[in-house]
């Protein structure tokens, strides 16, 4: 006879104290103060390393992508040059400031500005100025595309606003980077991509994906029964890890989950597989290697669902039995954010497999909609002034950890000081 496990045998208690954090209520001001937001812009987002995606989005020499980093007020272009070097540049013509690359992505070895046809190589070099003889001693060497500090870690491209960053990406990632070294990022060449511009502070949205306490309430139909059960009705996390400003919680999964009686399409889509793996890829050797990595389900819990990993300041990587996904939270103003979520899945090879993925995407869309639209209501409440502090429970430890480290960066004179142990 199977003994019913106890909650205490599954979930590590006192994560907040283990992370050496206060258990007092937290201030609401960082979510609503324009002055605080400006400090975040200058001292956090213009000093920290920020992720702009993976190297696979630049598959070959000549590949490029453009995007806007709103918090820097900067249009950027990221290129892979003929030497396979990945480099970000300001997407700004040295002549009079127009954006040189207008396409969202593509392949080109050189770019020509659409204003006066100044031409640049994809390594940033200025190649040509039409009617150059009519200018006055232009130093072409100094008129290339302005580079942005760029480094790659485990296939993730990071950029830094500082011309000479105070710390390297390796130092910034610290023990987190070491814990995740050698991770197998399966299916990373393809992704399902969600985006929304939301009227909420970036932390409100990042927080929404950082705890599972909300799941039984917000997602009763979509995933309520997959992340909670009778033993763990409020979906307490299994464990937590903290590395400097970076953090992770492992969330609880209900091992008894089965499709509801009336879920005919779910049964149809999953008729040929017997695992609960919605991405349909766990059989591969690559996926096996991923699951064996020591940072995936670090306590080797049989109740494990997802490791929610929050790379400071605005980047989540989620590791699950079916692979990984990521979120990026791009601040636009104190109460506006552009949110990106990217889920990596393999190409389907037959009709049922493709239907299964469509069902996965459809359910994701519902879950994400439930999550992110909730954030706009939350922001209105925080801005109302009804309270000055928020109560956080132990399962919400990543929110507290985030606020603590954001505040350290906002107040620190140097990055070294911001990164120093408490």
């Amino acid at each position: 006879m199977n003994e019913m496990p106890t909650l205490a045998s599954i979930c590590t208690p006192n994560l907040t104290q283990r992370a050496k954090l206060s258990t007092a209520p937290v201030s609401a001001d960082p979510y609503r103060s324009p002055a605080y937001f400006e400090l975040e812009r200058e001292n956090l987002f213009k000093r920290a390393w920020l992720t702009v995606g993976r190297v696979e989005q630049l598959p070959e020499p000549g590949s490029f992508v453009t995007q806007t980093i709103e918090i820097w007020n900067a249009p950027i272009v990221i290129t892979r040059d003929r030497n396979d070097k990945i480099q970000a540049f300001y997407n700004v013509c040295a002549h009079r400031g127009n954006q040189v690359v207008l396409a969202e992505r593509g392949t080109a070895s050189r770019f020509s500005c659409g204003y006066h046809s100044w031409t640049y190589r994809n390594d940033g070099t200025l190649l040509g100025i039409p009617d150059a003889g009519n200018f006055f001693d232009v130093d072409k060497e100094k008129c290339g595309l302005k580079p942005i500090a760029t480094e790659v870690w485990e296939g993730w491209i990071f950029i830094n606003h500082q011309e000479t960053p105070e710390v390297s990406l390796e130092t910034f990632l610290g023990d987190f980077g070491k814990a995740f070294a050698g991770m197998v990022w399966g299916n990373s060449t393809k992704s399902v991509f969600f985006e929304a511009r939301l009227k909420a502070n970036w932390k409100v949205i990042a927080d929404a994906f950082a705890e599972t306490y909300h799941i039984p309430t917000i997602h009763p139909a979509t995933i309520g029964t997959t992340f909670a059960n009778k033993i763990n009705p409020f979906s307490r996390p299994i464990s937590g890890e903290f590395w400097g400003p970076h953090r992770q919680v492992s969330t609880f999964g209900n091992p008894e989950y089965a499709p509801a009686e009336n879920a005919m399409v779910e049964k149809l889509a999953y008729a040929n597989i017997d695992t609960g793996n919605v991405l349909g890829a766990s059989g591969t050797a690559e996926m096996q290697k991923f699951l064996e990595h020591s940072a995936v389900n670090p306590t080797r819990s049989k109740h494990w669902a997802v490791d929610v990993t929050w790379v400071f300041p605005n980047f989540h990587i989620d590791l699950s039995p079916g692979g990984f996904w990521s979120h990026r939270f791009w601040p636009v103003s104190v109460n506006e954010t552009r949110w990106e979520a990217e889920f990596h899945i393999p190409d389907a090879t037959d009709a049922r497999g493709r239907l299964q993925q469509e069902l996965y995407v459809a359910r994701l869309a519902e879950i994400l909609l439930e999550d992110v639209t909730n954030t706009e209501r939350t922001q209105r409440g925080i801005e109302s002034g009804a309270f000055d502090t928020m109560q956080l429970q132990d399962g919400e430890v990543m929110i507290r950890h985030s606020l603590h480290h954001v505040d350290k960066w906002v107040k620190a004179a140097t990055v070294a000081e911001a990164l120093a142990a408490d």
């Binding site: 393809k190 511009r197 509801a260 879920a263 779910e266 389907a348 493709r354 994400l368």
Partner: protein, 115 residues
């Protein structure tokens, strides 16, 4: 203008669903379900679910990347069934409770192949 909408032999009974339900992208299929009433979603769901194994068998005669137009259209009906299932099997209503409509969440890229 695309060719006149047809479906493969044996599936012409599903033709009336093509204009409102054969979405070309995941975003379009999501919007299709969101804008229909529960009786409309239910009628579509029942009709496609009843033929779903036939559709899968038909589509599997081809490589997914090389579906002829009529077969692609038929497969798109099946893919929208995944959306209809959200209303019928999860919410019991066309859209998630407490979520605004319209809203700003967009699927910029769906699964592949057959976007």
């Amino acid at each position: 203008m695309p060719e006149t909408a047809t479906l493969p032999n044996g599936f012409s009974d599903l033709l009336p669903f093509v204009p409102e339900w054969a979405g070309e992208t995941a975003q379009e299929r999501w919007e299709m379900r969101e804008r229909h009433s529960m009786p409309e979603i239910r009628a579509f769901y029942d009709a496609i679910l009843a033929r779903s194994e036939d559709i899968i068998a038909h589509v599997d005669q081809f490589t997914l990347t090389e579906l002829p137009p009529a077969s692609l259209r038929l497969f798109q009906l099946l893919l929208t069934l995944a959306q209809a299932a959200m209303a019928v099997e999860l919410h019991g209503q066309p859209r998630a409770p407490h979520s605004p409509y319209p809203h700003k969440v967009r699927i910029l890229r769906g699964a592949q192949p057959v976007t």
